[in-house]
C-alpha cells in the first residue's frame, strides 16, 4: 500500500450543494460522503460495519438500539465529536431529510447517557431500522455550527465541516470541487490519498474523452453512456466493476397510470409487460449490463422472491390481451426520464415494441423539472422512473405500492395510484414483523400477488459500472460504492 497521490473523479451533474444534511441528491452524496459520515457503513451484502459507531447492540425485542461511538473523533475544525452531535442530527434532519423522517417515525425517544453512547428507543420493532445509518441516510452534522441558526442559510453550508476522511478545500463552480486529506482522521493510516478532485464535465461525450485522455481516473456509474462503457473498458489498464450499488439497487420501471385511460385496465398493463422486449433493451441499450427484474423487489435486495408470474417477450399474448379488453387504439403518452441518451433510446425502444403489438405511443418530452411536475401531479399515461431500494423492501419498495403513499405532489411514492387494501395490510405487517422467516413469507406473498396485477411495468435492475484505472485500489469497499469509498482507496505506484 502506498500513501499519497491525487484522484480525479467525474461528478455529474454538478451538485447543488455539499451540506449533506440539507441536500441528499446523488452527486451531493457522492462528494459529501467523503466529508460527512454516518454511524454505520454497509458491506456489499448489506451487513452493518463500524463507522462513527465502533460497535452497537440491538435488544432482543427489537425495541432498543445502543451505539458506542469512536473515541478521539474531531470535526474538521478541530471541535470534538460527541453523542450530542448525534442527538442534534436527529433534530436537524427531521426538517430536511424525508427518508430519515420516515425511518425515525418508528422511534420513541433518544438518549445520550454519555459523550460516546447513543441509545434509541423504538415505538415498535422495525425490521429495516438497522439499515438506516449510512452516510446518505443519516449524515452526522456538527451541532456547534448549526445549533440555533437557520440551517438553510447558514453561511457555513458553503464550507462544509464533517468528520470524514477528507476535508473541503475549494469549489470552483462549473469546474471542480477540491477535497484534501483529513490529517487528523481518527482511523490510523487513513485515508491514503492526498487529495481528490471532483470534475464537472457536463457533456457525456466529453466525460468519455476526459477519461481517455487521462484527465480523470474514475468514471462513476452513469457518467458515460453505456455505449461508451465497452470501448473504455477495452482500453489498457482500465478496470470496471458493477459493485458498489447493492445498497441502492436501482430499479427501473414504467409507471402505468392505474386511474384512467387504457392503462387503468389490468389486461392492458399485462399486455405492456408481454409486449416489451426487455432482454433486447438490456443487451442493446444497456450494453448487457443489468438484470431483467421479475417484480418489484430487486434480486440484490433482501427478501427477493422469484416465485411470481413471468412476463417474457410475447407479442401474441399481448395482442390477445388487448383484443380481449377491446383496446381501441387510443394513443398513450410516454414520459421518458430526462437523464441522457440512454434513457431516450430506451423510450424509443419501448415505443417501437408497443407499436408492434398495436399500442399507439406518443413520446412526450420534458426536462427534469417538467418530468417532476407531470409525474407528481399524475399527468401521464406511462412514465419512466427508477428508484433505490435501500436494502429492504420496507425502506425502498413498499412506498411505491401502498395506498397510504398515494399523495399528489411528490414523484417518489405510489404515483401510479395502485389500490389494493389487502396487500397494504401485508406490507404494513411485514415492516414491523420481528421474525425474519415470517417477514420473508409475507414478502413472498406480496410479490406473487402484485406481479399479477402489474401496477407498474418493471423494466430493469440497473447496473452502473464504475470505470477506473486499474492502479486505483480499494476504490469500492461498501454497498454504497464511491459514496464513501475513498476512505480506503489508494493508488499503486
Amino acid at each position: 500500500q502506498t500513501d499519497g497521490g491525487r484522484l480525479d473523479v467525474v461528478i455529474q451533474p454538478e451538485p447543488p450543494g455539499l451540506m449533506l444534511g440539507l441536500v441528499q441528491n446523488g452527486p451531493t452524496q457522492m462528494v459529501a460522503g467523503q466529508l460527512y459520515e454516518g454511524l454505520l457503513r454497509y458491506n456489499s451484502d448489506l451487513e452493518p460495519q463500524p463507522s462513527l459507531a465502533k460497535s452497537w447492540e440491538i435488544a432482543e425485542d427489537g425495541m432498543t438500539y445502543t451505539f458506542h461511538l469512536n473515541e478521539g473523533v474531531t470535526w474538521h475544525d478541530g471541535e470534538p465529536f460527541t453523542s450530542a452531535d448525534v442527538l442534534f442530527t436527529t433534530e436537524f434532519l427531521k426538517d430536511s431529510h424525508a427518508r430519515f423522517r420516515a425511518s425515525f417515525s418508528h422511534v420513541e425517544s433518544i438518549e445520550t447517557p454519555d459523550d460516546l453512547t447513543v441509545v434509541i428507543h423504538m415505538k415498535e420493532p422495525y425490521g429495516p431500522f438497522i439499515n438506516a445509518f449510512e452516510t446518505g441516510s443519516m449524515p452526522i452534522v456538527p451541532k456547534h455550527i448549526y445549533e440555533g441558526t437557520d440551517y438553510a442559510t447558514n453561511p457555513m453550508n458553503a464550507t462544509p465541516i464533517g468528520t470524514g476522511p477528507f476535508k473541503f478545500k475549494e469549489w470552483v463552480k462549473g469546474s471542480y470541487i477540491h477535497l484534501v486529506k483529513n490529517d487528523d482522521y481518527y482511523l490510523d493510516g487513513l485515508p491514503h490519498l492526498d487529495e481528490v478532485y471532483y470534475r464537472v464535465v457536463p457533456d457525456a461525450a466529453a466525460r468519455a474523452v476526459a477519461f481517455e485522455t487521462g484527465e480523470v481516473d474514475v468514471l462513476p456509474g452513469g457518467a458515460v453512456e453505456n455505449w461508451d462503457v465497452k470501448r473504455l473498458t477495452e482500453m489498457e489498464d482500465v478496470c470496471s466493476t458493477s459493485a458498489g450499488w447493492e445498497f441502492f439497487a436501482p430499479h427501473a420501471w414504467m409507471w402505468l397510470n392505474n386511474r384512467e385511460g387504457p392503462t387503468a385496465d389490468k389486461r392492458f398493463r399485462q399486455a405492456v409487460m408481454f409486449g416489451l422486449d426487455r432482454e433486447f433493451v438490456k443487451d442493446v441499450v444497456w450494453n448487457g449490463f443489468g438484470t431483467v427484474p421479475t417484480g418489484p423487489v430487486s434480486t440484490k435486495t433482501n427478501f427477493y422472491s422469484d416465485d411470481v408470474p413471468m412476463y417474457p417477450h410475447d407479442p401474441e399474448k399481448a395482442k390477445a390481451l388487448l383484443a380481449d379488453m377491446g383496446y381501441d387504439g387510443t394513443p398513450v403518452r410516454l414520459l421518458p426520464l430526462p437523464y441522457g441518451e440512454t434513457w431516450q433510446r430506451w423510450a424509443e425502444a419501448v415505443k417501437q415494441n408497443l407499436g408492434e403489438v398495436g399500442i399507439v405511443v406518443e413520446i412526450e418530452s420534458a426536462d427534469v423539472a417538467g418530468w417532476n411536475e407531470k409525474t407528481a401531479n399524475w399527468d401521464y399515461d406511462m412514465a419512466f422512473t427508477y428508484l433505490y431500494q435501500y436494502g429492504d423492501p420496507a425502506l425502498g419498495v413498499s412506498r411505491n405500492y401502498t395506498m397510504s403513499q398515494i399523495k399528489k405532489g411528490s414523484p417518489w411514492n405510489n404515483v401510479e395510484g395502485y389500490e389494493n387494501p389487502e396487500l397494504d395490510k401485508k406490507w404494513d405487517a411485514a415492516a414491523v414483523e420481528p421474525d425474519l422467516a415470517k417477514r420473508a413469507a409475507l414478502y413472498n406473498e406480496i410479490q406473487k400477488e402484485i406481479v399479477e396485477d402489474v401496477p407498474v411495468a418493471w423494466l430493469l435492475e440497473i447496473e452502473f459500472p464504475t470505470i477506473y484505472r486499474c492502479n486505483v485500489k480499494n476504490l469500492i469497499t461498501t454497498g454504497v460504492g464511491l459514496n464513501n469509498g475513498l476512505r480506503d482507496a489508494w493508488i499503486e505506484e
Binding site: 470552483v172 485522455t213 407528481a376 411528490s410
Partner: protein, 325 residues
Amino acid sequence: MTIVGPVLGRLFKAVLTLLAIAILNFFLIHAAPGDPAAVLAGEAGAADEQMIADLRAQFGLDQPFYIQLGTYVGNVLTLDLGYSFRQGAPVLDLILDRLPATLILTLTAFGISLTLGIMLGVAASARVGKPADSLLTGFALIFYATPLYWAALMAVLVFSVQLGWLPGFGYETVGADYTGLQRVGDILSHLVLPALTLGLFFMAVYMRMTRASMLEVAQQDFVKTARAKGLSPSVIRRRHILRNALLPVVTLAGLQAGQLIGGAVLTETVFAWPGIGRLMFESLAARDYNTILGVFLVSAAMVILFNIVTDIVYGLIDPRIRHTA
C-alpha cells in the same frame, strides 16, 4: 459636453429595457412547468410533500405571484439579483464567478472572428472572380453552414483525442496551481478549441460581409478620385475602401457580439467551459429562477454594453457621427 446628455439618456433607456426584460423573463420562467423545490426534492431520490412544501416556503414560492414579482423587481432595482437557494449562494456571486470565463471565451472568439473575417474578406475582395476568391468564399460558406456543436465535437475528436495537441475541455489544468504567465499559457491552450469553433461561424459571417462591402465601396465615386490621384491599388484598398467598408461590418458585429453569448451555451457545454451560458442552461433545468433571471439580465446588459461600444467605435470611424456642427 454634448456627449454627456445623450449617454445619460441612453443609459436610462438601457435601464428601462433591462427592467422590462427582467419582468418579461420573470413571467416566462415562472410559466415553465415545475419549480425549483420539486426539482431539488426530486433529485434527492426520496422526498415527501412536507419536504417540498418546506422548500417552497424557504424559496418564497408560497407567496402570491405578484408579491414574488414585486420583490424581484425591487431587488433588481437595488442591483440585488437575489439568492440561489439551489446553489446556496447569492446569484451575483455565482455569475461573477462564471462571467470571466464567458468573457474570455466570447471576446477571444469575437476578436478572432472579426480580425480573421475582415482580413480574409479583404483578401477575397482583392482577388474577386479569381480562384483564390472562390476558395475563400467557399470555405466561409462551409463554416457558415456547419452546426457549431458538430464542429466542436469534430475538433475535440481530432485535436484533442487523436492528435493530443490541445486539451479538449475545461478552463485550465485543474490542481496544477499555475501562476502568472504559466497560468495564462495554460488557459490559452484550453481556450484555443472552444474559441475557434465558436469563432468560425462568425468569422464566416464577417468575411462575407467585408467582402461584399469592399466590393460595394469600390464602386463609389471617391475611389475613382483616389485612383485619379495616382495612388496604388493597395493604398486605395487600405486607406479608402477598407475604412468605409468597415462601417456595415461594425454595425453587424455589434449586433452579433451579444448573440455570441447565446452561442456560447453550446460551446460551453461541449467543452465543459465554466461560463454563464452553461450556468443558464443548468439553472433552467433546475428551475433555479433567480439564477436564470440573473444570467439573462447580465447577458442583456452585456448586449446593451456592446451596442454602446459599437456606437462609440462607429463614431471613431465615421466623423459624420463624431463631429456635428
